[in-house]
Symmetry: C2
């Protein structure tokens, strides 16, 4: 049974900059057998997220680095093809931590079962109804804590997380301003998602001046997906008691030695009693059910729009991953591995 | 009446580095007359605090910069010698925003009256029972939010604020570790104030390694008075959900273009869901009475020890101010202007 060969993309070396085919080569290995309490998944969808780049390095992080020789780690959705757990049946569709591979062995205790019959495209559970949407939901509401009438600035606003952050902030009664890297993305944010103002950070020239113009009352919440120069510019525009929710710093993942914001800019902490708070979605794992229910309600009601790009074929995974960092993706990126 | 000449040290130029006699020269000017609702104070004590250096610059800050030509701004304690307010009588002793000068005109509405008859040395109201003590009290309890059993790391721990922070943290049941710049200061913290461990940052070599050794369970709260390399080292040692209370960055006041922490270090924000929060004591002005009452109770009960250095003579003010930045002060610095 030729399908029971597992093709996987594994970490051969810790990348410097964007991971290359030498850092992340592929191999075909025999499919392993699940142990007691484990299941074997045939992966259907693999999530591509900027955070994966961080796990490829060996700096301290919120989860262990990917070990050299292991398949690159991702969230996956798969169908159970073998089960050694009474809680999970062959044929069930589940979400799990998995890898850039066709088959994943997963612990039954760490899975979430998905309901195929609800008619929701399965890939949504990696995006707007999964870690991506939950990151936006908890990061904005619990870390950013926007109040009606405040101004919320979002970077990477056309990205999978940023686009949801902006729409939830609108529902909170905020003025929402997005930074994105193309006129097309800016038009989508403004015309389709209802952002109050948008800034193309590639063409705006002086980013700080552009933020000041788009945020005439200053910035109360900055939802930071990118770090670097945009963070530096945003810091300069913060109001008294502003909150900066640090979701990730995509501008630095491939340049870990990039300088942080200058002391002069960080003085905003004291000058305006600012809070800068990092978070990861796992901090809110006990409230995931609440978050998914609210996000699903908004999606069903047409209040929450999103884009996903589903790219077919495991062999496209590395060039597709690169698109997260060159700005050419539009919304959530997912690799699909169709069932034969 | 010769005393009614006002000697004042005023800001002639914004300093680069430590303020010199050319940046802050003195002059004798006629004493001004209080307007309606104002009083004339004969200053008795002038508070010297690192924050004053920040007000001499023109970067955005939590209060307006000192205007060129104005007396250098400080908290002062003075006796009312003329009053045009029904609320304040000649002879009253009050605390006010004032200047590096013998006489200050102050708005009666912005004064706090002090009770000389309570037998508390008046200078304490600039220190442990004033802005200094309140900064420690609210900064630790409201921003740092230590819980019993946690580890609290304090920089400039022998300073006016840091020494109070450490003692309050001990009263919360925390392990308290202090960073200071001399063996004498370290001995005082350990032997007199009860710190669990101390680090002489000038002689410890690798500061990060020294913090790790002194904080075997990691750091839950870092109360940051200094910024710079010590902040960088402390960031590396933070636990999950750690809080960094940014009180001030004395290492950068004379070097505003110093780099901030590197992006790699600030990644702790996400790696450990860390909160970095700046504050100023004015954020808690509605609760000052509560804070002073608690601090006074601890002082009376002998639970809160402190050092102050009272230097006599307005003409010593600039060299005394410099001592805040070379590490030679021990606790709160106050200039006394004895009544003749």
């Amino acid at each position: 049974m030729s399908e029971l060969t597992n093709r996987q993309y594994y970490l051969a070396a810790r990348p410097s900059g964007l991971p290359t085919e030498r850092d992340v080569p592929w191999r075909d290995v025999p499919v392993a057998e699940p142990g007691e309490g484990e299941v074997l998944l045939r992966n259907l969808y693999i999530s591509l997220d900027p955070a994966i780049r961080g796990w490829m390095g060996d700096d301290p992080n919120y989860i262990e680095p990917i070990a050299i020789g292991d398949a690159v780690r991702s969230s996956v959705i798969g169908r159970v093809v073998k089960s050694r757990s009474d809680d999970v049946a062959v044929g069930d569709v589940v979400m799990s931590v998995g890898g850039w591979e066709r088959y994943t062995i997963a612990s039954a205790a760490a899975l979430s079962k998905l309901d195929e019959s609800a008619g929701i495209p399965l890939s949504y559970f990696l995006g707007v109804l999964g870690p991506t949407g939950l990151t936006a939901y908890f990061g904005l509401l619990e870390v950013g804590r926007p109040r009606a009438g405040e101004t919320v600035l979002v970077s990477a606003a056309a990205g999978a997380v940023g686009s949801i952050v902006g729409q939830i902030a609108k529902m909170q009664g905020c003025r929402v301003v997005g930074l994105a890297g193309s006129d097309d993305k800016c038009a989508w944010l403004r015309d389709e998602l209802g952002f109050d103002a948008v800034i193309n950070y590639r063409s705006c020239g002086d980013c700080e001046a552009a933020i000041r113009q788009a945020c005439p009352d200053g910035v109360d919440v900055y939802f930071d997906n990118v770090g670097g120069e945009i963070l530096e510019a945003a810091l300069a525009c913060l109001n008294k008691f502003a909150r900066v929710a640090v979701c990730g710093w995509i501008s630095t993942y491939n340049e870990p030695d990039a300088p942080g914001p200058s002391a002069r800019r960080l003085w905003q902490l004291v000058a305006n009693s600012v809070t800068i708070q990092g978070f990861v979605v796992l901090d809110y794992s006990e409230r995931f059910a609440e978050g998914v229910a609210q996000l699903a309600e908004w999606v069903m009601a047409g209040k929450l729009k999103f884009r996903e790009e589903v790219v077919s074929g495991l062999d496209n995974i590395l060039p597709t991953f690169h698109r997260l960092f060159d700005g050419s993706n539009q919304g959530k990126l997912v690799i699909e591995l169709p069932e034969e």
